[in-house]
């Protein structure tokens, strides 16, 4: 299968197989009118199968949020057809309005217009906690 190379934009690579659409939605890519290629189940020596997203536009991406969704992702920045930068996202220290707290006892369950904020409490295990009630998600996405 051939997909045209991009001139200026991003290649989000090493996405866990099956997670590409999740990232597509998180990044609101459906709001862009540039060419976007979503490649599912591409062959990978390291991962067996992987997903890839190619975006033919220079957009601003919160790389660390991608790290929360899938810490193995790599983000390649392309200029004039050449890869100029490659980033491995870190787990973000804090994520805001990416996931919702599902604890029915949490103030987020009733307060209007509240930001849903989670902080990284255990980097090794990748555990996040709601800053209001300390519960770990069981999260639901926005």
């Amino acid at each position: 299968m051939n997909i045209d190379s991009i001139r200026n934009g991003l290649v989000i690579d090493h996405i866990k197989s099956g997670k590409a659409m999740e990232i597509y939605h998180y990044l609101n890519l459906d709001s862009l009118d540039c060419q976007i290629a979503i490649i599912k189940n591409a062959t990978s020596k390291r991962m067996g199968k992987k997903d890839i997203i190619k975006i033919d536009a220079e957009i601003s991406v919160d790389v660390d949020v991608l790290g929360y969704i899938d810490p193995n992702i790599t983000v390649n920045f392309i200029e004039n057809g050449v890869k100029v930068k490659k980033l491995h996202p870190e787990l973000p220290v804090q994520i805001t309005d990416i996931i919702k707290c599902s604890n029915p006892r949490c103030i987020t369950s009733i307060e209007q217009d509240i930001h849903h904020i989670f902080k990284l409490s255990d980097k090794e295990k990748g555990i996040y906690r709601c800053i209001y009630c300390d519960s770990t998600p069981k999260v639901t996405k926005e």
């Binding site: 604890n103 006892r105 949490c106 103030i107 987020t108 369950s109 009733i110 307060e111 209007q112 217009d113 509240i114 409490s121 255990d122 906690r129 709601c130 800053i131 209001y132 009630c133 300390d134 519960s135 770990t136």
Partner: protein, 304 residues
């Protein structure tokens, strides 16, 4: 401007200073009679309380200040659907400091994000209760002479017991502390406290389901009530409510200098025959609550 939302908002040094001020207030109350003249505290209690609300109000009155507020959500604009953010924005026009209790976890934190005056968490659901912890620490220091080298038994509802969660957070910062957790399996301490607080700080703990087994090694027995208001299901409450009861028979297994604490109110988890035991310190503890809250109000209002 400082708030007190979680006990960890205060350093060990600051807690020691608060305890020193509280002890000085106990010894020299006249020195503090006018320290908060013309200052007002708003007690916003969205959930019922006797001791905590009255002790905050008594604390401010004894400092020469005045009080305003409400004692249940039904008598506030919350009943009309007003948000915490809006309530606090408005009340901070009328008061110099706010003590808030709310049935939802994290409500005082939300308040602190919107308030122009200091917010004190006076209990948020089953989450935290830092001023009860300050009360506990003052009582432990006065009764045991210090806050190091203690084996502390925590008994009852350790799952929803916010006083227990805050006390553990505070005590792990002192030397040679060991916890003995006594509860039915359904009301065990949440994993996030075991993992993030106890294990992370290498604080040893053991778990029991009956008081008698644990009693001989304890320096402090901290009893808690199984709280009906934390259960979504009444049948679960009925099944668990009598699971940990302390009586004078069980006190025979305890050390001579052990102390019994309880944040109160009690229902039946400490039988009244224990009240006359010299080791029962829960009423002294309630009394100390006013003094430590006086010290806290002075600190947060930056009154010298």
């Amino acid at each position: 401007m400082r708030h007190l939302i979680d006990i960890s908002d205060l350093s060990v040094t600051e807690i020691d200073e608060l305890i020193d001020v509280a002890n000085d207030i106990i010894d020299n109350p006249e020195k503090y009679q006018e320290k908060c003249k013309h200052k007002k505290i708003a007690t916003l209690f969205f959930e019922p309380s006797t001791r905590t609300r009255l002790s905050f109000e008594a604390a401010m009155l004894e400092l020469g200040g005045s009080v305003l507020g409400f004692s249940e959500a039904a008598s506030s604009s919350a009943a009309k659907g007003e948000s915490i953010s809006d309530t606090v924005r408005v009340v901070s026009f009328y008061a110099d400091i706010i003590a808030m209790r709310h049935f939802k976890e994290g409500a005082p934190m939300v308040a602190s994000m919107k308030s122009d005056v200091p917010i004190i968490n006076a209990g948020d659901g089953g989450h935290n209760h830092p001023t009860q912890t300050l009360t506990d620490l003052l009582t432990i220091k006065r009764e045991k002479g210090g806050l190091d080298n203690l084996t502390i038994g925590l008994c009852g509802d350790l799952k929803f017991g916010r006083t227990v969660h805050s006390l553990i957070s505070a005590m792990t910062r002192y030397k040679n502390i060991k916890f003995v957790l006594i509860s039915p399996s359904e009301l065990r301490l949440p994993d996030y406290i075991k993992n993030d607080v106890l294990e992370k700080n290498n604080v040893p703990y053991s778990e029991y389901t009956s008081i008698e087994e644990a009693m001989p090694e304890l320096d402090i027995l901290y009893m808690t009530r199984v709280q009906k208001e934390r259960f979504f299901n009444e049948a679960d409450y009925e099944r668990l409510k009598d699971s940990c009861i302390l009586n004078s028979e069980k006190m025979k297994f305890a050390k001579e200098d052990m102390i019994v604490l309880h944040p109160l109110p009690r229902v039946n988890e400490i039988t009244t025959d224990v009240d006359d035991d010299k080791r029962a310190c829960y009423f002294k503890q309630a009394k100390n609550g006013k003094y430590i809250r006086m010290a806290l109000i002075l600190k947060l209002l930056e009154v010298e």
